[in-house]
Amino acid sequence: MTQQVNDNIVDKSIKRVHKLEAKGVKVFYDDFEAIKGIDMQIKANKVTAFIGPSGCGKSTFLRLFNRMNDYVDGFRMEGEILIDGENIYKKKVNVEQLRKQVGMVFQKPNPFPKSIYENVAYGLKIQGIKDKKYLKEKVEDSLKQVALWDEVKDDLNKSAMALSGGQQQRLCIARTLAVEPSIILMDEPTSALDPLSTAKIEELIYELKQKYTIVIVTHNMQQAGRISDYTAFFYLGELIEYDKSKKLFTNPEKQQTENYITGRFG
C-alpha cells in the first residue's frame, strides 16, 4: 500500500531532505509476509519513531536500513531501500561499509566482553586504524558525546560488563558514534533500562539529532511523543499512518492509529 504523507514530509524540491527512503518494500520470512509493501521517506537530522504492537514489522523494517536481516534464515525482500538516493540492496554494495555509515543500537545493551576502551575503539580498529593517539582522542570524544566520560574516565581498562545497564547502553551508543555514522538506528534502546537511565538516553537522543538522522523503534508511546519529530504507526506489516508526532498523537487521521495510541489494543 502507498502511504500518502502530508505537508512537508514529501518535499521533492530538496532531495537531500530525505535521508532514507523505502520504495514498495515487502519482506518475507519463508512464506510469511512480514512487511506488506511500504513506501516511506525519512528526513535527515530528525528523530523518526516507529510504533506499533509486537509483531507489526517495525523492527524488521528498521533492520532493513543496515541490512541486519540478511542473516535471518528464510529472509527475502522486494522493493528498494535508498540511503542518500542509493539503493543499498544492489549487488555491488559493500555491507560492512554500509554499516559503518548506519550505526545500530539494540534493545538489550550488548557491549563486547572487553574493556570500556576496547569497546569504543572496536569499530575504528576493525577499519585498520592503529594510531594510538587518534584512537584515544576518538574514544574520549565519543564517551563525552554520550555523557559517560566523567563516569568512566578512570576505569577505561575495566571490563564493560561491570557497568550498569544504563551505562552499558550509553557505551553502546558511544561505540556506534566512534565510527561517525550519519544514521543511527535504535531498536527499543531503553526497554531494558530503569526510568532514570531512560531519561538520560532520551536526552542524549535529543542532542544527537543535530548531527545524525535517528530512527527509533519504541513500545513506549510517551517516549515516541517526547523525543520524535515524526512518528510512523505500523500494524500487521503495513504502514498505517505517518506524520509529525504532534499531529499523530493529538489528531490521528486513521481510526486504527487512534485505537492504538489511546490504548484500546496492542
Partner: protein
C-alpha cells in the same frame, strides 16, 4: 506404599552415586599403596631425576623422565595438530556453515572419537608412517610424529565439538553488535566470538590434552616401546601408558619391584590428568559465573 517406593528409589540413586565415588577412591588407594611400596625401594629423587628407564634390564634405572618426555612429545604433536584444525572447524560450523549442514556435520565429526583407538594405531603404523617416510628420510618405523598426528586426528572432535558449543553459546546479541559495527565474518569470529568463548575453548583444549596424555593404544602400537629421553619426533619413544601396557601384558612377576613400576608410572599419569581436569573445572566454573 508410595512413600516406600520413593525412599527406595532415592536410596538406590544415592548408592549408585556412592559406588562411583568409592571405586574412584579405591583406584587411587591401590595406586598410592603400590606406589608407596615402590618408593620404599627406589628413592623418589632418582625417580624424578634419573634420565634412564630400564626396570626390566639387569642394570636397572628408574627415571620417569624418558617416559614423561615420550608422553609429552606425542601429546604436544597431537595438540599442535588438533587445536588449529579443531578450532577452525568449530568456527566454520558455528559461524559459516548453513544450519542444515551444521546439524549433519557435528555428529559426523564426533564419529572420529568413536573409532576404536587400536584402529587408529594401525592406521598410524601402516598408513601414516609409510606416507611420512616418503618425504621425511630417516623416519623410523616407530616414531612419535606419526603417532602424535594420528592421536591429533582422534582428539579433533574434543576440540571442535566443545569449542563449537562454546562459540554457539555466545549470545546472539554480541554477533549483532559486531555486525552492526561493520565487522566482516572473519573479524566477528576472531575479534569478538573467540575471545568471548575463550574459557570454553581453553577447557576444550585442556580436556583434549588430558585425553592425549592418557591415550594408550595408538602410542603403544605406532610410537615404539623404547624409553628414550628425546624431543626428536622421528625416533621411537615410549609413553607412560605404553609402558604400563607392556609390563601388564608381559611376564613380570606380580608383587616384584618391576611390577610395581607400573603403579609409580600410573600415579604420575594420574597426577597429570587430575591436575588438568581440576584446572578445566575451575575455568568452567569461572566461565559460568561470567554469563549468569
Amino acid at each position: 506404599m508410595r512413600k516406600f517406593k520413593e525412599v527406595f528409589i532415592e536410596k538406590s540413586l544415592l548408592t549408585s552415586a556412592l559406588i562411583t565415588i568409592l571405586i574412584t577412591l579405591g583406584i587411587i588407594l591401590v595406586l598410592s599403596l603400590e606406589a608407596v611400596n615402590f618408593f620404599r625401594e627406589v628413592p623418589i629423587i632418582d625417580f624424578l631425576t634419573d634420565t634412564q628407564w630400564t626396570p626390566l634390564f639387569t642394570d636397572k634405572h628408574f627415571g620417569i623422565m624418558p617416559l614423561l618426555s615420550g608422553t609429552l612429545l606425542t601429546s604436544f604433536i597431537a595438540i599442535a595438530f588438533a587445536v588449529p584444525v579443531g578450532l577452525s572447524i568449530s568456527i566454520y560450523i558455528s559461524e559459516y556453515a548453513p544450519r542444515s549442514f551444521r546439524k549433519s556435520i557435528k555428529p559426523a565429526l564426533e564419529l572420529l572419537a568413536a573409532v576404536p583407538t587400536v584402529v587408529y594405531g594401525f592406521f598410524a603404523l601402516t598408513v601414516v608412517t609409510p606416507f611420512l617416510q616418503s618425504f621425511i628420510p630417516g623416519l623410523s618405523g616407530f616414531n612419535s610424529l606419526s603417532a602424535g598426528l594420528v592421536m591429533g586426528i582422534m582428539i579433533i572432535p574434543f576440540v571442535s565439538s566443545l569449542s563449537e558449543d562454546a562459540l554457539h553459546a555466545v549470545p546472539n546479541s554480541l554477533r549483532e553488535a559486531a555486525y552492526g559495527m561493520g565487522s566482516t565474518k572473519l573479524q566477528n569470529s576472531f575479534r569478538v566470538l573467540v575471545p568471548a568463548a575463550s574459557s570454553g575453548i581453553i577447557v576444550s583444549i585442556i580436556l583434549a590434552i588430558s585425553r592425549a596424555i592418557g591415550e594408550t593404544m595408538i602410542v603403544a602400537i605406532a610410537a615404539g616401546q623404547q624409553p628414550r629421553l628425546t624431543m626428536d619426533p622421528t625416533v621411537p619413544v615410549e609413553t607412560i601408558t605404553a609402558y604400563i601396557v607392556q609390563v601388564s601384558l608381559g611376564d613380570v612377576e606380580h608383587g616384584s619391584l618391576e611390577y610395581r613400576t607400573i603403579f609409580a608410572a600410573g600415579i604420575t599419569l594420574f597426577i597429570f590428568t587430575f591436575l588438568l581436569n581440576t584446572f578445566s573445572y575451575k575455568i568452567r566454573k569461572k566461565f559460568r559465573e561470567k554469563y549468569e
